[in-house]
């Protein structure tokens, strides 16, 4: 290997053995619906932190083949509100030790994130967020355009573009991780602890007794259970509808794309709310780009091409060197969004059913954090303090955690 080899080009080999493929048992203490990152992390921490291992993770497709396999893997905790910071920063701290915890490479790369400001109001909001982050013990800085260019020299900071860069917030501890490795690391650990990961097993209904769920109906038979944790991301409404529970979720396609492999040109993560594109360079060298959701509700795992066209126009203006890059692949996942752009986690009207949903476009970064908190919630039968603000009843009480525009690209 020469020194010209891009960093991270050599992905580690997977272990010979990842997990068993067991037949479902007749009953479990805990059934987790959805084998994405959140479901697998919850399973891992149930075993590790609470010694609860009579657990099944039921996945209708293949393990972590939903949003977990489709997301752009940005990890940061520079949210505005205290409630959001608490859970995302808890998660970021777990990311920082996750490779050791899982005993598996996850290629967590803390290369920092720049959130660009393009208007006077952007600048004010960004500076406010930096101060809020600092008060919450989150690393954050405000950078001038010249300082932005020092960190990421290919950002166009000239002032003759439509939305000139007026500065950026910077969180150095933000980063990316290799999503598949993360999922497989959690899966391996959960399996090792004796938890059954059951693929090709769709939950199609529930059996209930008053306000208690007694079991799940699946494409592989009925399974009795003590507690149910819903970790089905974009499909939560479909499951809640089966229970007759309403939640203010709407599912949308969210698209992403990658370029061909390139030399290292993009050392950090750059996000822009205003022109609406975000970019990082993957370990192997692809430019990974995303934007906001397609506007309409959808479950189709594809989106409209004009969304990509707009996003590319913004990308090329911000990064003129991208103009000659070839687009390799586009895809979409189905994300569940809420009216206040924050997740819905916690109790449902069924006393033994917990919901974990509404992470929208930003739930990958929460993977270890929510797994930890949901496991604690299930084990103790009450919401962990970090998820308590995200209860379903906030839409009635008005105690919303409105993160729209506060920290992220679109939700």
């Amino acid at each position: 290997m020469t020194s010209a080899t891009p960093p991270g080009a050599h992905l580690p080999e997977h272990g010979d053995f990842l997990w068993r493929n067991p037949e479902p048992k007749k009953s479990y203490d805990v059934v987790i619906v959805g084998g994405g990152g959140h479901g697998l992390a919850t399973a891992h921490y149930l075993a590790k932190n609470h010694g609860i291992t009579n657990v099944a993770v039921l996945e209708k497709g293949w393990l972590a083949g939903g949003n977990m396999a489709r997301n752009t893997t940005l990890i940061r905790s520079n949210y505005l509100w205290d409630e959001s910071t608490a859970i995302y920063e808890h998660s970021l701290k777990l990311w920082e030790g996750l490779e050791d915890d899982l005993g598996y490479p996850i290629l967590f790369s803390q290369r920092g994130v720049l959130n660009l400001a393009h208007t006077e109001q952007d600048v004010r909001d960004s500076v406010r967020r930096v101060e809020a982050n600092k008060l919450n013990g989150v690393d954050a800085e405000w950078l001038t355009p010249d300082e932005v260019a020092k960190i990421c020299p290919i950002v166009n900071i000239s002032d003759d573009i439509r939305y000139p860069v007026q500065g950026a917030t910077y969180q150095p501890r933000a980063g990316i991780a290799k999503h598949d490795w993360v999922a497989w690391g959690f899966a391996r650990k959960a399996d090792e602890a004796g938890i059954d990961l059951i693929q090709d097993c769709e939950v199609t209904g529930f059996t209930t007794d008053g306000d208690t769920v007694t079991g799940v109906r699946t494409t592989r038979g009925d399974i009795a259970c003590g507690t149910v944790a819903l970790c089905a991301a974009g499909h939560t409404s479909v499951l809640l509808d089966m229970l007759g529970v309403a939640a203010p979720l709407s599912s949308h396609p969210l698209q992403a794309l990658v370029s061909e492999l390139l030399e290292p040109v993009h050392p950090t993560i750059v996000m822009s709310n205003q022109v609406h594109v975000y970019v990082s360079q993957a370990h192997k060298g692809e430019l990974v780009m995303g934007a906001g959701v397609d506007s309409y509700n959808g479950y189709g795992q594809r989106g409209a091409f004009h969304i990509i066209e707009r996003q590319m126009a913004a990308a090329v203006e911000l990064f003129p060197v991208f103009a000659r890059a070839h687009l390799l692949r586009t895809w979409a996942g189905i994300v569940d969004t809420t009216p206040d752009a924050s997740p819905i986690v916690g109790h449902t009207p069924y006393q033994n059913v917990y919901v974990n949903s509404g992470w929208g476009t930003g739930g990958f970064k929460a993977t270890p954090g929510i797994g930890w908190c949901l496991a604690d919630t299930v084990a103790n039968g009450r919401p962990h303090e970090y998820v308590a603000p995200f209860a379903l009843d906030r839409f009635v009480t008005g105690a919303l955690v409105d993160e729209h525009g506060a920290a992220a690209v679109a939700h």
Binding site: S237, A246, A247, A304, V396, G398
Partner: protein, 93 residues
Amino acid sequence: MQLIECPWCGPREETEFHYGGQAHIAYPETPSELSDTEWAQYIFFRANPKGPFAERWSHSGGCRQWFNAVRDTRTYTFLATYRSGEPQPEVQS
């Protein structure tokens, strides 16, 4: 991108349209009598079906009229479009 049938203008490019969410959500008749739960239902809670969904669209880049559509959220196919105030048509899904 697909063609969407505006009930006034006929088929036009998807890029001319804007999405408006679930259709047929009526403003409460007696707003002062609503409980917090009922207000929350009216403001925040929307159906999110996997299948046919009655929703609002605006032909913002054309005649600028709002209209309703039934669209399948699995395939994104428009099964019907109709003018506001007209009843939701029966569709084959």
